[in-house]
Symmetry: C2
Subunit: 224 residues, 2 copies
């Protein structure tokens, strides 16, 4: 019985890694679609979001079943409760990748991002894909150095997010020459990427708590 | 021992109601601050968000302790797991109210919303406060008719959200005469209110699942 329980716990960890990998792929495709106006790629992200949702649903059911049947305590309980939370967080990260793809698809055959925003968003895309990759590695290895890297990558994303406002608002809308649609898109994209970073930080803190047992490590740094 | 457990479960329910009440007050104050450019009220929302976070943290700790010590099954387990999830959802709803207050404060002494957006946002504010109120009533009484009302109120919010895009984008930015700052603010506010409605739907579906035990009722309708 305990051996089966051990396998079940490992399955929770494996499913979280699987979700994180799917999220990484979705964000990588969504950002490529955004940068290149690649309709097929945007549609692939949108069509495959339900796969992430499916792993989420099965993981959630599995965690509740584990709680009911195995009544875990101590570290085992922490693994199951963390599994419940991370699965919800990763599901939302998948939604955010889909939203990015939605913007890319909505503007096709045009590019959503005007030339003047290209450099900035190239940096954002690099940072967001780095953080998506960190999250996979972190869930695979529970390496606390990676948790710290997630926090640093998120700081970078936050700084870039502030830049997007500067880009849109200064010195004046007339000078930037952005259309209303472009302003709306840049605002939403900035928000999606910022939220993706916040959720990554949430994953990092939950893993820090799981590994160290230090509750201060799990203080929620996520802003909505 | 079981009597204490019963009290603990009731405490979970009471804390959820308390959080929902604080969220309702925060959103009511934030939207009033937005409509009237009321700086003091905006700052009150921002300053008191940590109270919602505190109830969240204590509720979460309490649920995990209940899982560890009481090892609940069946309905009791469902109550505790639902408590964990709803507490996270309500915490995010509090964050969104704070974000609305942030926008109001950021534009003070000006109004964030230009006159041409007033009518539409008056409707949005009415709908969002109605949904915040429904969530309190729902958590207090677990009345499934209220869950249905939340879904209907959210449909109204979604329709109004689509209207905000129409307002900003048609017929042309020149005609609307909105500044870049106003476009950014309206986009973000629209998103915050939409998310608030989505989270309310999530609460409604979780309660439907808790009351009916029907898993299809808990299918996550929330978009990120």
């Amino acid at each position: 019985m305990r051996e089966i329980f051990r396998q079940d716990l490992e399955q929770v960890g494996d499913d979280l890694v699987l979700m994180a990998q799917k999220v990484r792929t979705a964000m990588s495709d969504a950002t490529a679609a955004l940068q290149n106006g690649d309709l097929a790629r945007a549609e692939r992200v949108i069509a495959s979001d339900h796969e992430i949702d499916q792993v989420h649903d099965s993981l959630e059911a599995q965690c509740v079943t584990l709680l009911a049947r195995q009544q875990p305590v101590a570290t085992d309980l922490r693994i199951v409760v963390t599994g419940l939370r991370l699965s919800a967080t990763l599901e939302r990260m998948g939604d955010l990748a889909r939203h990015v793809a939605d913007v890319a698809r909505g503007r096709y055959p045009d590019l959503a991002l005007p030339p003047m925003a290209k450099d900035l968003f190239d940096q954002v895309v690099t940072a967001v894909n780095a953080v998506a990759n960190d999250v996979v590695d972190l869930l695979e290895g529970h390496d606390l150095a990676l948790a710290t890297r997630v926090l640093e990558d998120d700081d970078k994303l936050d700084a870039l997010h502030k830049e997007t406002f500067r880009l849109m608002l200064a010195p004046s809308a007339d000078v930037t020459g952005l259309t209303a649609q472009q302003l709306v898109d840049i605002t939403l994209l900035g928000r999606y990427f910022e939220r993706f970073g916040d959720h990554s930080v949430s994953v990092a803190r939950r893993i820090m708590f799981l590994v160290t047992g230090d509750p201060s490590a799990h203080v929620e740094a996520v802003q909505s």
